[in-house]
C-alpha cells in the first residue's frame, strides 16, 4: 500500500512584499509514522514553512498538503489532523492550563482524555490548575505541548519544542516525541539544536536562507554508516597485522592512534586487536554536526546570522 505522506510540499515558496524571499522551491516529503526534524538557523524559514502548513500565511508559489489535504484549500480538514505547538506561544491570560486544554478540545468537539492528560502533566511536572499567566516560560511551553498532543492528532507539528525547558524536561519531551512516533503517528519539529534532532529524528531536512539545502536519513545512516574506531596501543603494531579483516579496514595512524573504518565487523576487529596491548578504544559515529557543518562550509549564498537563540 502506498501510504500518503504526512506532510508534502511541492515547489513551495514565499516572498514578502515581492522581494524578500523567505522560502523558495521547497520540495519536502515527510513519511507518515516518522519523526522529522527541520534544522536551520534563526531566519532560515522554518517557522515560515510551518505557518504555511497551518494556513496562517499563504505561499506565493507551490503547494503544501497534510495527509493529502491541501493546507490552503482544505485547511480545516488538514488541521483536524494536526496538533501544533507555536514557537512563542501566547495564551489567554485568564485561563488555567486545564481551561486551555478544554478550550482546545472543544474546538474539535471533543473532551480531553483524562488519563492521557494525567500522564502528560505528571511526566512534564505541570500543575494544570494554575493560571497560565503565573507560569514560567518553560511551563507555558508545557501547556502548549500538552494542548498539541491531547487530541492525539495524526500529525504533531512542534516549533522549537524544547526551548525554554531545562535539560531534564527536554529529555521528557523527546521521550514523548518518540512515543508518538512509535504509535504510528508523525512528528514534524523544527529545531536549531543538533543533538536533540540527532537523538530522536528519523529524517532531518536542513533549511538555509529559505532553501532546502540538504536532507538526511538518520535511521538509514545509523544502520549503514561506517564508524570510525581509533585505538591506542601500548606499542603500535605493524600495519600488516590488520590486513584482511572482514568488515573493517585499517586506515592508518593519526595522533599516535590507529584508525579503523568499521562497516560490519566490530567482532573481527576486536578479536584482531586483542592480540596486542590496548590502552584505549574510541568509537565515533559520523555526526549530524559533520553533515550540518558541511552544508555551511560551502560559500554561503547569503550571510548566515550568527548566534542561535
Amino acid at each position: 500500500m502506498v501510504s500518503i505522506p504526512a506532510i508534502q510540499t511541492a515547489h513551495l515558496g514565499k516572498r514578502y512584499s515581492g522581494s524578500v524571499r523567505a522560502l523558495a522551491d521547497v520540495d519536502l516529503t515527510v513519511p507518515a509514522g516518522t519523526v522529522f526534524g527541520l534544522l536551520g538557523q534563526n531566519g532560515a524559514g522554518k517557522t515560515t514553512l510551518i505557518r504555511i502548513l497551518l494556513d496562517m500565511i499563504r505561499p506565493t508559489e507551490g503547494r503544501a498538503s497534510i495527509l493529502g489535504f491541501d493546507c490552503q484549500d482544505d485547511g480545516v480538514e488538514a488541521r483536524t489532523h494536526v496538533g501544533y505547538l507555536p514557537s512563542s506561544a501566547q495564551y489567554y491570560s485568564y485561563m488555567t492550563g486545564q481551561d486551555m486544554f478544554e478550550f482546545a478540545a472543544r474546538t474539535r468537539g471533543i473532551t480531553p482524555d483524562a488519563a492521557l492528560l494525567d500522564d502528560l502533566t505528571q511526566r512534564l511536572d505541570l500543575n494544570p490548575d494554575r493560571p497560565i499567566r503565573t507560569l514560567s516560560r518553560g511551563n507555558q511551553q508545557k501547556v502548549g505541548l500538552i494542548a498539541a498532543l491531547l487530541a492525539q492528532p495524526e500529525v504533531v507539528i512542534l516549533d522549537e519544542p524544547t526551548s525554554g525547558l531545562d535539560p531534564l524536561m527536554q529529555d521528557v519531551v523527546l521521550d514523548i516525541v518518540r512515543e508518538v512516533a512509535a504509535q504510528g503517528r508523525t512528528v514534524f519539529f523544527s529545531s536549531h539544536i543538533l543533538s536533540e534532532v540527532e537523538r530522536v529524528c528519523d529524517h532531518v531536512a536542513v533549511l538555509r536562507g529559505g532553501l532546502l539545502v540538504g536532507s538526511f536519513d538518520l535511521a538509514e545512516q545509523r544502520r549503514l554508516a561506517a564508524r570510525r574506531v581509533t585505538v591506542q596501543f601500548a606499542e603500535m603494531p605493524p600495519p600488516s597485522a590488520f590486513a584482511g579483516m572482514a568488515g573493517s579496514r585499517y586506515l592508518g595512524v593519526e595522533d599516535g592512534r590507529a584508525v579503523f573504518e568499521v562497516t560490519d565487523g566490530f567482532d573481527t576487529l576486536l578479536k584482531h586487536i586483542a592480540a596486542f596491548t590496548v590502552v584505549d578504544v574510541e568509537a565515533h559515529e559520523p555526526t549530524l554536526e559533520d553533515f550540518f557543518l558541511s552544508l555551511y562550509t560551502d560559500e554561503p549564498e547569503q550571510p548566515v546570522a550568527g548566534g542561535a537563540a
Binding site: V2, S17, R58, E61, G68, D70, Q90, Y91, T107
Partner: protein, 503 residues
C-alpha cells in the same frame, strides 16, 4: 460556538463596565431633569450647539429634547468606543496579543471564526444596551417626564443604537482584517467615527455644505432625534446595507489575511491572477476523493467576488438614486386651512364716522364697509372692499382714529378655501400639481381627499429661519364643497401621494 462563548466571556467585564456606566449616566440625567426643567426653558443655547446635537423643533425643556441632547447625542459615541474596542479585539487583537498563533491552528475555518467573533461582539453590544436600560428602569418611574416619554420609548431608543453599533462592528472587523495591527485598526475605526460625527455637525451648522451629511453613516442612524422623530426605515436600510457590504468585505479580507504579517493587506479585495502549481499527484489514496478548492483563491473566484461586490455597490447606488428620486410614495406633513385674503388699508387719515361692517360678515366686491372723515378737510371718504369674502379681522371702531395706509380690515375669500402646506426642501422636488392628497382634520374627525393645486417655485421668506434650518415651499390644496366647520387656521394633517406621476 466555542469561539463565540469564549469571546463573550472575555468581553464580560467591559460589557458590565460600559453598561453600568451608561446606566448611571442615564439615571442621573433623568433625576436631574425636574430640577433643570424650569431653568432650561429660559436657557438660550447657542443655535449651533442645538443644531450640532440635532435638536430642532423642540426645546431642552421638553424631556425628549433634554435627553436627546444630554444622552442620545453622545451616548452612541460611548457605545461606539466599546464597539471599536471589542470589534478590533475580536480578530486583530488575537493577532497582536499572539493568541491567533494558537487559535488559527485549530480546525476552525476562517469564515466560522469570523462569524462567531462578530456574533459575540454583537451580543455583547446588546448586553451593554440591556444594562443601560436598567438605568432608565430605575429612574423614569420616579420622575415626571410628561406623557410624551415612556420607559418603553427610552429602552427602544437605547436598543436602536445597536443598529448603528452594528455598522461600527463591521467597520472594526474590516479594518482589523486589513490593518497591520490592532492599534492601527482601532485608530482607523475611531477616526472614521469621529469624521462621521463631525460631518453631521458641520453639515447642520454650515448651510452651503449641508449635503455632506448624506456621506455620514451617523446621519442615517437617526440617533440624536430618535426620541422625537423616531427612526426612518429608509435611513435604517441605508445603514444596514452599508453594514452588510462592509461585513462582507471584512470577511473576504479576513479569508485572505496573513496573520502577523505586520503590513496593510488589501490583496484579498483585489482581483488578481493566481499562479497555481499543481501538486504532483502521487499522494492519491483510494477512497479519499481529491477535494475541490473550497476557499477558492483561484483567479476566477476572486473575479467573481469582485464582480459580486461591484454589482452590490451598483445596486446600492441605483437604490440610493431611486430613493432620492422617487421613494417613498407619500410625503406626510402638517398644515392649516387658509384662504386668499385681502388687507384693506385706511384710505385716509381720520376718524371712523360710520361703521356698517361687523366681524364675520359676508361681503361682496364693492360693498361699503363704512366712512372715514378726513381730519384736514373733513370730507367723508368711503371704505369699500375690493374682493368678496368674509371679514375675518376688523380693527375699525366707531369714532376711532386711523392713519392712511394702516391695515384696518382683513377679508378672506372663503369660496377659495385651501390647505396650506409648507413642504420641506428635501421633499418638494417630488411634489407636483394634481397629486392626490389625503387630508385629516383631527379636531373635527373629518377626513377628505383633495389634489395638489399649486406648488411654490420659491421658498417662503422666513426671516426667523436659522442657518442650517431647511427651507420650506408652499403647497396649496384647494378645498371644494367644504364642511362649514372647516375654518381658516384649522390645523390639518396631509399626506401627499408623491409617487403618482406629475401632470
Amino acid at each position: 460556538m466555542v469561539l463565540l462563548t469564549q469571546m463573550l466571556y472575555r468581553l464580560r467585564v467591559q460589557v458590565i463596565a460600559y453598561g453600568l456606566g451608561l446606566a448611571l449616566w442615564a439615571a442621573i440625567e433623568v433625576f436631574l431633569y425636574p430640577s433643570l426643567e424650569s431653568s432650561l426653558g429660559e436657557l438660550d443655547y447657542p443655535e449651533a450647539i442645538l443644531d450640532a446635537f440635532g435638536i430642532q423643533g423642540t426645546s431642552l425643556a421638553d424631556p425628549r429634547g433634554f435627553l436627546g441632547a444630554e444622552f442620545f447625542s453622545l451616548g452612541p459615541l460611548v457605545l461606539g468606543a466599546f464597539v471599536v474596542a471589542a470589534s478590533t479585539a475580536a480578530l486583530a487583537g488575537e493577532e497582536s496579543s499572539g493568541t491567533m498563533e494558537m487559535l488559527a491552528a485549530f480546525p476552525v475555518g476562517r469564515t466560522r471564526m469570523f462569524i462567531q467573533k462578530a456574533a459575540a461582539v454583537l451580543i455583547a453590544t446588546l448586553g451593554v444596551a440591556a444594562i443601560t436600560s436598567i438605568g432608565w428602569a430605575v429612574s423614569v418611574p420616579f420622575v415626571d417626564m410628561g406623557r410624551e416619554l415612556t420607559l418603553l420609548d427610552l429602552v427602544g431608543a437605547t436598543f436602536q443604537q445597536v443598529s448603528f453599533a452594528s455598522f461600527v462592528i463591521a467597520l472594526g472587523l474590516f479594518f482589523g482584517a486589513i490593518a497591520p495591527s490592532r492599534g492601527t485598526a482601532a485608530a482607523c475605526t475611531g477616526g472614521v467615527l469621529v469624521v462621521a460625527y463631525l460631518l453631521v455637525a458641520i453639515a447642520s451648522s454650515v448651510d452651503s455644505v449641508e449635503n455632506l451629511k448624506y456621506a455620514s453613516p451617523y446621519y442615517y442612524s437617526d440617533l440624536s432625534g430618535v426620541l422625537i422623530d423616531g427612526v426612518e426605515l429608509r435611513h435604517q436600510l441605508v445603514l444596514w446595507s452599508a453594514t452588510a457590504t462592509l461585513g462582507l468585505l471584512a470577511l473576504v479580507a479576513f479569508e485572505g489575511r496573513e496573520f502577523n504579517a505586520e503590513r496593510w493587506q488589501f490583496g484579498a479585495l483585489m482581483p488578481r491572477g493566481g499562479t497555481d502549481i499543481e501538486m504532483t499527484s502521487t499522494n492519491a489514496e483510494p477512497g479519499r476523493v481529491p477535494r475541490r478548492s473550497r476557499r477558492g483563491l483561484s483567479s476566477g473566484v476572486r473575479w467573481l467576488i469582485f464582480l459580486v461586490l461591484l454589482a452590490g455597490l451598483a445596486a446600492g447606488g441605483v437604490y440610493a438614486y431611486r430613493y432620492a428620486a422617487s421613494l417613498p410614495p407619500v410625503v406626510a406633513i402638517s398644515g392649516r386651512v387658509d384662504a386668499p385674503s385681502v388687507v384693506i388699508l385706511a384710505p385716509t387719515s381720520g376718524v371712523v364716522s360710520t361703521l356698517t361692517a361687523v366681524e364675520g360678515q359676508q361681503v361682496r366686491q364693492g360693498d361699503l364697509l363704512g366712512w372715514m372723515e378726513n381730519t384736514l378737510d373733513k370730507t367723508q371718504v368711503p371704505v369699500t372692499t375690493p374682493h368678496s369674502g368674509r371679514i375675518t379681522t376688523l380693527s375699525l371702531h366707531q369714532g376711532q382714529f386711523a392713519t392712511a395706509g394702516t391695515p384696518v380690515v382683513v377679508i378672506h375669500d372663503l369660496t377659495q378655501l385651501h390647505v396650506l402646506l409648507e413642504v420641506d426642501e428635501d421633499d418638494i422636488g417630488r411634489v407636483a400639481v394634481g397629486q392626490p392628497v389625503a387630508l385629516s382634520f383631527s379636531s373635527l374627525g373629518l377626513r377628505i381627499t383633495g389634489a395638489v393645486g399649486s406648488v411654490a417655485t420659491l421658498p417662503t421668506a422666513n426671516p426667523a429661519a436659522r442657518p442650517g434650518q431647511s427651507r420650506k415651499y408652499e403647497v396649496k390644496v384647494p378645498l371644494d364643497a367644504v364642511d362649514p366647520r372647516v375654518i381658516v387656521g384649522l390645523p390639518v394633517d396631509a399626506r401627499i401621494a408623491v409617487g403618482v406621476a406629475r401632470q
